[in-house]
């Protein structure tokens, strides 16, 4: 059971503001979905290695050579707020 407090805790971790109605609905929906998902708890998985990547690849290294990056104006052109050649955000110290 995912209660209101847990929903609010997870929403804080996810940097997501939810309306009261969304909190209510999310509590029921997450509880329902997890009820199905929790069936994997019944499997005997002792000693089974986890899979995070399906294709056998080892670290690929490339030559460490300088190359041009994106033009600053092109990247800043997509930003919602720009000042002094940078992204503008509210002060983290505020």
């Amino acid at each position: 059971m995912i209660d209101r407090e847990q929903v609010l805790h997870v929403a804080r971790l996810a940097r997501l503001e939810l309306s009261d109605a969304e909190v209510e609905r999310m509590s029921g929906e997450l509880t329902g979905i997890l009820g199905h998902i929790e069936k994997i708890g019944e499997l005997d998985l002792d000693g089974v290695c986890p899979t995070s990547h399906v294709v056998e690849v080892t670290n690929k290294l490339r030559a460490d050579e300088p190359r041009p990056s994106w033009p600053r104006e092109k990247i800043l052109g997509a930003a919602p707020a720009v000042r002094d050649d940078g992204f503008e955000v509210p002060s983290p110290q505020a």
């Binding site: 995912i2 847990q6 929903v7 997870v10 929403a11 971790l13 996810a14 940097r15 997501l16 503001e17 939810l18 309306s19 969304e22 999310m26 929906e29 997450l30 329902g32 979905i33 997890l34 199905h36 998902i37 929790e38 069936k39 994997i40 708890g41 499997l43 998985l45 089974v48 290695c49 986890p50 899979t51 995070s52 990547h53 399906v54 294709v55 690849v57 670290n59 690929k60 490339r62 994106w70 092109k74 990247i75 997509a78 930003a79 919602p80 707020a81 992204f87 955000v89 509210p90 002060s91 983290p92 505020a94």
Partner: protein, 493 residues
């Protein structure tokens, strides 16, 4: 001219262009006009200018391609079906799209999709739902629903999409076309707006298997910009098999019984008989962990999504909430305003599964289940050549009929979801109709067995003789004009 062009597959159109019997500009214009008059809401942006003719020896001959919205295309809206990326125009083009352009396939338009590829019905798009050309009151499937509907309705010669849990194969099945998810790593993910990085894979949606092979040939390849991409071991060949002699087809008990709609099962069994007539042997088998694939998927994919979608914070691109008190509330309100209900649900689910105290019970166990599913397939391919299942447990369903129950919607992925968890290639081909709606037949093979899958699919396609032409009758006005993109919530329903 238009009707003549429309009757051709993409490969046939390419041959005519190379033979000097057809001009690529006319093919482009014919499809551009149809795409611009789309009343299925399959396109969110349609190209305006007719591109310069492709080089005379260009393998794709100038036959234009429709591209799912989540592929970054330089200077062209790439919104991933989300309000949070409204009017985002990337500074670069995804490798898969660039490869196709270099092969001679210009961009026809961007296709509608479920937001960030999260959905099985295309109802989770901020730009309105897509309608199924076989019955506009029904969904086209998802998440590559716009690409599937566009090809099925003859609004595009061919299209590309992405498949994370079934997002190419399921809409291909529901729209009566061919869709293929390649082996993980075969196609570069560079420039694909990420959903779940360990599962996401781009692939073709086409009218037939020959077009599928041709398009895939020009998508694959190792890319220095995607370190998980691998060199495809051989050229993707034009399929030519006529028979299935000696081919052993495994029919997994777990994915071909309970939960499959009777009409779909009936068609599946009839298709197995056709396979036998072509010389294949049918072998009942087990994939014991397949019933748990959906659970593992709905932990792993949301977990990866919750990390991938952390980048949408109103700082570098896309939407920023108009009002906020401080940095934190700028983040949280931007995300509240920009994400739709399903995306929020998955971010919450994924964040929960990764959170302290729950990580081992959910994410850790799901990764172990993933190992067991891959082991099941490995064991299967020691005994059979391919595993075959219905692609979707059901035919296309009514718009709005499953939107109130997330798990009922997730069950659409029941037969497709084990495949990406094991990183395997699979194709869906149309195998007939049930209740007047298309049914898909899924052929799953071992890693990098695309050529063998395409050959088997081709032989079966010839024997089935599916006719999708009736779906290409629908098209009309009321759609974005060339050069314009749709606004969020601009759909009709």
């Amino acid at each position: 001219m238009s009707a003549e062009v429309l009757a051709l597959t993409a490969a046939q159109a390419g041959e005519r262009i190379r033979a000097g019997e057809l001009r690529s500009a006319d093919v482009f214009a014919a499809y551009r006009d149809r795409a611009a008059a789309d009343e299925l809401n399959a396109f969110v942006w349609v190209a305006d200018d007719v591109p310069a003719a492709a080089a005379a020896d260009a393998p794709l001959a100038g036959v234009p391609v429709a591209v799912k919205d989540l592929f970054c295309t330089e200077g062209v809206p790439s919104q991933a079906g989300s309000k949070i990326l409204e009017d985002y125009r990337p500074p670069y083009t995804a490798t898969a799209v660039r490869n196709l352009q270099q092969g001679g396939a210009p961009l026809l338009g961007k296709t509608n999709q479920d937001e960030f590829a999260m959905g099985s019905s295309n109802e989770n798009s901020a730009y309105g739902p897509v309608r199924n050309p076989w019955d506009p009151t029904r969904v086209p499937g998802g998440s590559s629903g716009g690409s599937a509907a566009a090809v099925a309705a003859g609004l595009a010669p061919w299209a590309i999409g992405t498949d994370t849990g079934g997002s190419i194969r399921q809409p291909a099945a529901l729209c009566g076309i061919v869709g293929m998810k390649p082996t993980y790593g075969a196609v570069s993910r560079y420039g694909m707006i990420a959903f779940a990085s360990s599962l996401d894979q781009a692939g073709p949606l086409t009218r037939d298997v020959t077009d599928c092979a041709l398009l895939l040939r020009h998508m694959v390849g190792q890319d220095p910009c995607d370190s998980t991409s691998v060199a495809f071991p051989e050229e993707v060949r034009t399929p030519s098999a006529e028979r299935l002699d000696g081919i052993r087809l495994g029919v997994p008990e777990e994915l071909t019984g309970e939960g499959i709609e009777p009409g779909v099962l009936e068609n599946f069994n009839a298709t197995l008989r056709t396979c036998e007539e072509l010389g294949a042997t049918i072998e009942p088998m087990r994939l014991p962990h397949a019933p748990h694939a959906l659970s593992a998927y709905y932990i792993i994919a949301p977990a990866e999504a919750s990390a991938n979608l952390a980048r949408y914070d109103g700082v570098r691109y896309g939407l920023r909430a108009p009002e906020y008190d401080d940095l934190l509330s700028m983040y949280t309100r931007t995300r509240r305003a920009g994400f739709g209900a399903e995306v929020k649900r998955r971010i919450m689910l994924g964040t929960y599964a990764l959170s302290s105290g729950y990580y081992d019970a959910y994410y850790g166990r799901a990764q172990q289940v993933r190992t067991k599913i891959a082991d099941d397939f490995r064991a299967a391919f020691a005994a059979v050549d391919f595993v075959v299942t219905p692609t979707s447990p059901n035919v296309a369903f009514g718009l709005g009929s499953k939107t109130d129950d997330p798990w009922a919607m997730y069950l659409n992925d029941y037969c497709t979801v084990p495949v990406p968890l094991a990183g395997l290639p699979a194709i869906s081909i149309p195998s007939g109709l049930s209740e007047g709606l298309p049914v898909g037949f899924q052929i799953i093979g071992g890693a990098f067995s695309e050529n063998r899958i395409l050959d088997a699919a081709y032989a079966l396609e010839q024997a089935i003789g599916f006719d999708g032409s009736s779906a290409r009758g629908i098209a009309g006005p009321d759609a974005p004009r060339p050069g314009q993109e749709r606004r969020p919530d601009g759909g009709k329903g």
